[in-house]
Amino acid sequence: MKVVLKNLTKRFPNHKKNAPDVVAVDHFNFEIPDGKLIGLLGPSGCGKSTTLNLICGLLKPSEGSIYFGEEDVTNLAPEHRGVGMVFQSYALYPHLTVRQNIIFPLENLKGAQKLTKEEMAKKALQAAKLVQIEELMDRKPAELSGGQQQRVAIARALVKTPKVLLLDEPLSNLDARLRLQTREEIRRIQKETKLTTIFVTHDQEEAMSISDYIVVMKDGILQQIGKPQDVYDDPANLFVAKFLGTPPINLFHGKVTDGMLYIGMEPVLAVSGVENQAVTVGIRPEGFVPDEEGPLSCTLKNVEVMGRDVSVVSTHEFMIGAGIRSIIDADVKIDVAKSTVRFRLKPHKVLLFSTDTEKRIPFTTQVSHA
C-alpha cells in the first residue's frame, strides 16, 4: 500500500495569547512507495512524531490530505485506516499477558470480521512467531526485557495485518547493543511481511542503516527525501549535510574565484560552473587524503587510532566549529611529531553551500592535483 501525503499541514494553537500558531508540519508532499521501509529523520521537535500521528489518525491535519493507495483516509478514524502502530514506550497493557496484549486488537473486531477464539489464538501465535517471542506468551510485560517488550509491541501491531506499519522511535528505549540487533530485526520483519513501514527516529545512523528511503525534516519543513546514500552524497542543503554522517561533515569558510575554491588563501580544488562568491565548504571526514604536497594545510592536534581506520583531529584558521575530524586508512602513517598535516581532497566529498541561503551549490570538477 503506497502512502501519499498531499499538502499535509498541522498547526497547534500557541499557549501564549495572540502568538501565531505553531506549525509542526508544514505543507508536506511526498509519496511513499508500496512495501518500502521509510525513515522519518530529524532533530527533536521537528514534527516527525506529529507526521506519524497524522498518518496514523491520532491527530487530524489542519490542511491537506493523506491517501493510502487510492483511498483518501484523511477523515477516517485510526481504526478504519488499517494501521499498526508501535509506540515509543511500547504502550503494552501492564495488566495483560503477552498473549492477551497481542489478542487485544483482534477482540475489537466487529460484525463480519469477528473471529473465533481459536482463530484469534492462531493469529496471535503467528504474529508472535514472526517476532520470535512464542515462548513468552504467558508473561506480563513487566517480566520482559526492553527488547522483548519491543517485539511484543510489534506483534500486537502486526496481528491485525495492517496495511501500513508505523513505528515511533522504535529503538530509543534500548541499549546500544540491542539497538543494532533490533534494527536488523525490524528490517527482517519488514522484508518478510512486505508491509509499507514508516518509522521515526532522530538517529541518522539508525535511519541510514535500514531504510529504503529517508525523509529529512527540520522545523516542520521537509528538507529532502531519497535513498540514504543519495541523500548523504548529494544533500540538498547545509542542514541535511550536517545532520547526516558520523563523524559529522567538516565546515570551512571559503570562496570561489575564477573556478578555483579557496579556503583562506589556499587554492584547494578546481571547481567549474560556480560564480565567484563566498561559500560554505563542507568536506566529509572520508574526503581527506594525507598528502605531503596537498593543498590544504591543517594544524595537527591528535590522532585517534580505531583499528580499522585512523581519525585525525586537526584545526584550521577558517574552519567552522571546534575541529576538523578526518578519517583515513590505518595503513597511511601520520607523523604525530609534526605540527602540520597536509591533505588533498576527494572532489566528490567536497560540497559547497551558499552562505546566505544554505542551499547546495553544484559544481563540476576535473581531478585537480596534477
Partner: protein
C-alpha cells in the same frame, strides 16, 4: 542484616511507644473488660469472668437493631458511593471546560462540617407543621404523597441516612479517583484507539484494571469507615438514636459508656470487640477477593 537489628528497633521506638500506649494497650484493656462481668471503672472492680457480656449484648434488641442498621448502611453506601464516585470522576476527566469549577463543587462537602450538612438535610427532608420539606414538595409535585423522612417509617429514615452518608464520603472518593485516572498514561488510550477499541471496552479492559488498586483501597477504607459510622446518624436523628431506631454499632458502644442508659463499660467493650471482629473479617475477605481482581 543481623548486625543492624538493634539499631532498627531504636529507630522504631517513637512509633512503637505511641502505638503501644494509645493503640495496643487500650485494645488489650478493652479485650479484658469484655470478659469481666459488671466492671466498674470508678472502683475498678468486677464480679466474675466469662462470656456473659457477649451473650447480653448479642441478645440486646438495641444492639441487634444497631447491627442491622450498620450492615444495611455498609452494604448500600459503600458500593453505591464508590460506583457513583467512579462515574463522576470519569465524567470529570473527560470534560475540558469548567472542569475546575465542577471539581470544586464536588469537593465542597468534604470541607463542610458534618452537623452543618445535617442541618441542610433537615431542611431538605424534615416534615414540620408548616412545611413538608423540599423533597416532599418534589414528591408531591410528581403526584406522590409526603413521607415523614425524619420521624416516619424505618425505610424512610434509612434512605435519608444512606443518601447523607453517600453524599459525605463522595468528595474524598472523587478526589482520589480523579487523580488515579489522571495518572493513567494516555499512551494506552492512544494504543487502544488505533486498535479500534470502543470507549466502553477501553474503560472496562484498560482504565478499570489500571486504577483497580485505588478502587480497592476505596472499598476497604469505605467498608471500615461505614462500619464505624456514628456522627452521621447523630447529625440527622439526634443523640437518642436507640429511640429513633437508627443507632449504629459505634453509637451503641457510646451509649453503653456515656449515654442516658450508660455506665456499662463491660457491655461496651464486648460490643466494641464484636465490631472489631466483624471489620477484621470483612477486611480479610476483601483482601482475599482483591488477589483475584486487582492488578498491581
Amino acid at each position: 542484616m543481623e548486625k543492624n537489628n538493634h539499631k532498627g528497633w531504636l529507630y522504631l521506638i517513637p512509633a512503637l511507644v505511641f502505638l503501644g500506649v494509645f493503640m495496643l494497650y487500650p485494645l488489650i484493656d478493652v479485650f479484658i473488660y469484655s470478659f469481666e462481668e459488671g466492671y466498674n471503672s470508678a472502683s475498678m472492680t468486677y464480679y466474675g469472668v466469662g462470656l456473659y457480656n457477649y451473650s447480653y449484648v448479642l441478645r440486646d434488641p438495641y444492639f441487634l437493631q444497631a447491627l442491622k442498621n450498620t450492615f444495611l448502611l455498609v452494604i448500600i453506601t459503600v458500593p453505591l458511593s464508590t460506583g457513583l464516585a467512579l462515574l463522576i470522576s470519569v465524567a470529570l476527566s473527560s470534560i475540558q471546560k469548567l472542569k475546575n469549577l465542577y471539581q470544586t463543587i464536588f469537593f465542597l462537602p468534604y470541607v463542610t462540617n458534618t452537623l452543618a450538612v445535617g442541618l441542610v438535610f433537615m431542611i431538605l427532608f424534615k416534615k414540620t407543621a408548616y412545611s413538608d420539606g423540599l423533597i416532599n414538595l418534589l414528591i408531591e409535585a410528581f403526584g406522590g404523597s409526603a413521607v415523614d423522612f425524619m420521624e416516619g417509617p424505618y425505610w424512610a429514615k434509612m434512605t435519608v441516612l444512606c443518601i447523607y452518608t453517600i453524599w459525605i464520603v463522595l468528595p474524598f472518593k472523587i478526589l482520589i479517583l480523579t487523580s488515579a485516572l489522571a495518572s493513567v498514561n494516555p499512551v494506552y488510550y492512544n494504543a487502544a484507539r488505533v486498535d479500534g477499541t470502543s470507549a466502553f471496552r477501553i474503560f472496562r479492559k484498560i482504565t478499570l484494571p489500571l486504577i483497580s488498586p485505588t478502587v480497592f483501597y476505596l472499598f476497604v477504607t469505605g467498608f471500615i469507615g461505614a462500619f464505624k459510622a456514628y456522627s452521621d446518624a447523630v447529625a440527622l436523628f439526634g443523640v437518642n438514636l436507640n429511640v429513633a431506631g437508627m443507632n449504629t454499632m459505634v453509637g451503641y458502644v457510646y451509649d453503653m459508656l456515656y449515654g442516658n442508659s450508660g455506665g456499662y463499660p463491660s457491655y461496651a467493650s464486648a460490643a466494641a470487640i464484636i465490631l472489631f471482629a466483624i471489620v477484621l473479617t470483612i477486611t480479610c475477605i476483601n483482601l482475599l477477593v482483591s488477589k483475584k481482581h486487582v492488578h498491581y
